[in-house]
Symmetry: C2
Subunit: 140 residues, 2 copies
Amino acid sequence: MARNCRFAVAVHIASLLATMEGQPCTSEWIAGSVNTNPVVVRRLLSALAKAGLVHSTRGSTGGSSLARPADRISLLDIHRAVDEEEEPALHNQPPNPACPVGRNIQSVLLRVIERADAARDAVLSTTKLSEVVGALKVEG
Amino acid sequence: MARNCRFAVAVHIASLLATMEGQPCTSEWIAGSVNTNPVVVRRLLSALAKAGLVHSTRGSTGGSSLARPADRISLLDIHRAVDEEEEPALHNQPPNPACPVGRNIQSVLLRVIERADAARDAVLSTTKLSEVVGALKVEG
DNA sequence: GTAACGGTAACAGATACCATTACAGCAAGG
DNA sequence: CCTTGCTGTAATGGTATCTGTTACCGTTAC
């Protein structure tokens, strides 16, 4: 996985919304559970809203809640929403096209990395937010 | 995958060594194909050597070559050699332990991420360096 | 002994990420 | 109407990481 904490915090946020069952949560309250700044939470909520996973309302009684049931939100949905799908990291400088290896290594690597990422995504897509919430409750 | 280019360059390097069939290559020659600085190549070769994948000799006629056949080196071997297995990126600050979600989210997330990483690693481990070299030749 | 190599430390520049402050826009309730 | 409390977002600073580069040491062949 990436080495930023956006995915982890976004799943945390989504789990909080799921346990509140429709009742809107403020970014400040969420930030208290995540232990970070409310703006960080709002940035992630904004990304989740753009992906259609949550719904936010402004104003005095505003807040955020899930846009659909937790069993219809996968962790892949969340990952794609907040970790804007970067291209796989290849060479910084383009390799030497005069070398048979340098000329083709990137396209070959791309195919392999895409297969590997697809395998990882398959696990994330079959894991639903509702499972995470269920596991949280078992944990106690 | 990670967003550094160590893995891509390391596979590039290993592919070069594989196509040279035992003949030692210098870091400067490799750097010419990768299009980077020889020290960058030496750093990666050093990591590959520590993992037992390549063998380097110093001195006037020195250079590096594969330590075992390319069909017995997987891309997972290379990935683990150069991208020192980081722990999955969770929260920066520990979540609020007074919240039922914050108290357990990390252990639940760890299990999921480990399953996802294992799926990705399975693809990398079944992809051998020899396959990459073969694909390079087909590519032309 | 000299030339050519790998190993490694040290440093600079670029980039990414997170936390924080600040402020504009919007909705509910008096 | 207008105050209050929320979201959305821009701007900024600090920190960490990565890459490229220079420099120097140790080693090996000739």
